[in-house]
Amino acid sequence: MTLLALHDVSKFFGGLRALSAISFEVAAGEIVGIIGANGAGKTTLFSLIAGHERASGGEIRFEGRNLAGMRPHQICRLGVARTFQIVRPFGGLTVEENVATAAMFGAARAASPAAAATRARDLLDLVGLRERATDLAETLTLSGQKRLELARAVATGGRLLLLDEVMAGLTPTEVVAMLDVVRRLHREYRLTILIIEHVMRALMQLAERIIVLHHGEQIAEGTPAAINADPRVHACYFGGAAV
């Protein structure tokens, strides 16, 4: 079943063309990666899907529904969750409250504060933050805040998860741990994942399919192996060397 479908999507900021003619589909349960140099339009794409920006042209459909004109909270309620490239925790709230808030307001719409708290604790267990549950979110390290962001996004109950450079700034050990967390979430919460990443090793292991963006255009799409071998991708992104 197609969960997300983009058809000829474009975005202009005044005269600047950030995205043009983006078309692809994501089937339920897939993990699809998005790569491209900085400024290729990757985060803009996420902003369009999640509703923070309005597309200048084209259609974005989630489970068949056209998302045009919807506000971010409405799109979240439909089942789309996202993390941010620069983490945005609710700093003055506790780690548990961060996740519980998402459980209360998201697509999952927890029936009571107790239900929200339970869901929050389960997710904190999974991402390894349970012992920090009563600490203020702003006291976490970057790695902790990234995992919190992830837990919070999944807590909304969304079926589609948009991960924006969730590995950025992590040490190699932390990357391995994060990979594991993402895989577990994908499995246990039956998620479909669209993931922007620069950390190639991680992405190649995670994604079944990769879409390559360059200057706002879609220049390639295929399995990690195919992308790795694609000469156009090499020229634009890898600088000529294979990963």
């Binding site: 971010p72 969750a81 941010f84 709230l93 209360m104 307001f105």
Partner: protein, 301 residues
Amino acid sequence: MKATAALLSILVLAFAALPLGAGDYFIGVGLSVLMYVALTQSWTVLSGMTGYVSLGHVVFYGLGGYVAALAWGTVPLAAIIPLAGIAAFALAATIGSPALRVRGPYFVILTFGLAELVKYIVIVIEGWLGKFSRVMFGAPGLDTLYYIMLALAAAATILTLSVRRSRFGQGLRAIRENEEAAETVGVPTVRFKLLAFGLSAIIPGMVGSVMVLRSTYFEPAQLFDPVVSFSIVTMAVVGGSDDVMGPLLGAAGFVVLSELLWANAPQLYMIFLGLLLILFVLFVPEGMSGKLFPARRRGAR
């Protein structure tokens, strides 16, 4: 929760008993304390919870007073006070949509500017109507007004408590911490902010109508006094806006202080207010209630 309810019930009883034993002066002081409790609690529903700090809350107070001044004589008391609240809510609903799109310090100066703008508009309107001030004859006595104010203070406190413990309140907190992230996890930010704004206006409107009837005199420049806005903010900051006890502490403390200083040296009182505001903003942002009851910050609010 139980402890809070018990404490508040005792306070209500204490205030209710005051007019029975005390003379007019003390009833007047009690009235002032209750007034600021009502104003400050209402203010925290918006500014404490969402972080959108309003420095112009006197606009709702003044509008409510204006409604009372206009309606007195033709409309019964029991209708005037709710009417004042409705008028204030209507004003908040009208300006809230565009105003709440402005963030941070700009929202603060915007609210200040709005309050002043409304003040001058009322002055001009009164000029057109040929009135430079209004006097109310046959206004209710101090005791009646005192009990109405007690009801308003209680209502404001209950409102704050309810909002804090509700899902709505949790959403407001999320908005305060990071508005964009809040929207991303499903909080309907625009709607919630507007509702908080409206709720924070109703009781101040009603308080304004009571105070105009207390002084039996209405003059726009006097009623729409920025010092009221400033006092509310200072009481909330010093008392603490993250806890229902905060405004109670702040209001009581400042009214007592003003009674001591105002008659002889109003400037000293204002200087003191300014100093305390600065000191608390810089060094004790959680306010007195935050310092006295730190455990209350998390968990049972």
